[in-house]
């Protein structure tokens, strides 16, 4: 009896896994698709939701999904993070960290650790939801390690990938700039 029950349960698990793994088109792809495909996808989604709703507690409890988006977006214009600090308002900024710069590699291993990078590495749509918490956290570390600094600046240098693997060119401009002052860090709960 048990082998039959187990085989049935495995069949159900495969069906549910398959249903939850149906690829999700990007909104812009869906909007550009013919009307018939949009309608068909709507039906697929409603069947998918109906099937998965009752078992959603399993992926919720174990925090997984069957959509595997590995390198789904390739950036033509990658960023390079700069972490800088200064003592007083009119002092020059001192660069503490930026990738691939051995002279400015303070806390490089920690900043580049995958669980930290997930917070500051921008997404295509903009900064990650963890970006501001990251700025506050790294500023706290800077203030603790260097008592002379009063302000920390984190920003993203905009780059452009040159064709045929010739490297990366800086656009000479920055995005997602954030400032944190020692007073804010010290007054935080």
């Amino acid at each position: 009896m048990w082998p039959t029950v187990r085989a049935f349960l495995i069949a159900v698990a495969l069906l549910l896994g398959g249903a939850s793994g149906i690829p999700e088109p990007q909104p812009r792809e869906l909007a550009a698709a013919p009307k018939v495909l949009q309608t068909a996808y709507g039906w697929v989604r409603s069947v998918q939701d109906a099937i998965l709703l009752r078992v959603q507690f399993v992926p919720d409890l174990l925090q997984f999904s069957q959509h595997w988006k590995l390198f789904s977006g390739v950036r033509d214009a990658p960023f390079r993070i700069w972490i800088e600090a200064r003592e007083n308002e009119h002092d020059p900024w001192q660069l503490l960290y930026r990738p691939h710069d051995p002279e400015h590699a303070w806390e490089g291993e920690a900043i580049e650790f995958r669980r930290i990078r997930g917070n500051w590495n921008p997404q295509r749509s903009g900064p990650s939801t963890g970006y501001d918490p990251f700025v506050g956290w790294i500023a706290g570390r800077v203030f603790e390690r260097f008592p002379r600094f009063r302000t920390v600046r984190v920003r993203m240098e905009e780059g452009e990938v040159l064709p045929r693997g010739r490297g990366l060119r800086s656009k000479g401009q920055f995005a997602h700039e954030r400032l944190r002052h020692r007073e804010e860090a010290e007054s935080a709960p």
Binding site: I10, D60, G118, R164, G165
Partner: protein, 326 residues
Amino acid sequence: MIRRWVAFWDRREAPTSLALVRILVGSVVIADLWVAWRLDLVPDIWVPPPAGLGYGASDLRLLFSLELFGASRDGILAVWIWTLLSALLLATGTLTRIAGWSLAVASAQLSLLSPNADRGIDDLLRIAAALLGVSGAGARWSVDAWIMRALKGASVERVPAWPRYLLLMQLLWVYSSAAQHRGDADWWPHGGCSALSKILSDPHLSRVPSGWLAPIYPFTQLATAATMLFEISAPLLLLWIWYERTPRWPGKLRRSAVLLRFRWIWITTGICFHLGIALTMRLGIFPFGVLALYPALFTPDEIRSGARWLAGHAPLPRKQRDGYES
């Protein structure tokens, strides 16, 4: 048909492949948690801002660990210790079934505390841990097996094979799903197969500064095409396995697949692919975490045969291996 389906999922085999997956999955998680500790990032990664990076779960009902251990730095440290202990128990095969599920649930709690610190590889390792928790992976090279031998004087020689089959299918789905989500032209010939070159130029991901790729740019295009072919063709591995099991059945494709060893080409490509990622990119445990599941692609006898070959002995003759048509 139904009888065949039931019989297929009722197959048994030596616990070798599953035991290897168990040891590797547990070890990868331990290594990852240890690196976080060594870099003085525990518990900051999971603590709420401003002291940490854990911006918090969207669904607090699921985050029962905070009620269990307390919503403080010490409480979050306790969740990290729980995850580490579960991984240690899983790797050593101590209370394996409990350890597998414990690791999956503890890791999910960490994910809920700090969603941005959690990547796809953590999802995959949680699924693997849960599957190992319902498998006989603890029947070999484990504390459980040692206790069993000490108490009963015998060890479990054959365990259900279905968890290995599911791990194998999960791995193939990861690759297939990844390919399905690649809408960018850069991955395809009409976009010049430039994806790998662009990814390796990203200073946040690449191990070395950009610019080194120009002399080998055609190679990166070839590697991009090979990556897509590898991922798209992942489900075909099931067909290649089937052909290897029935080599004397008719069919030109079957003969070619067996003769040219399509299955082995695919697996070797996968290993090279992940080693290449480990060498050129800073993705942490990602390549090692996926490779930890690769023993599930081999039958226990293939692993035994491979170990004999590595030790300088002749591999087992094919007819002595499990499940092959003689």
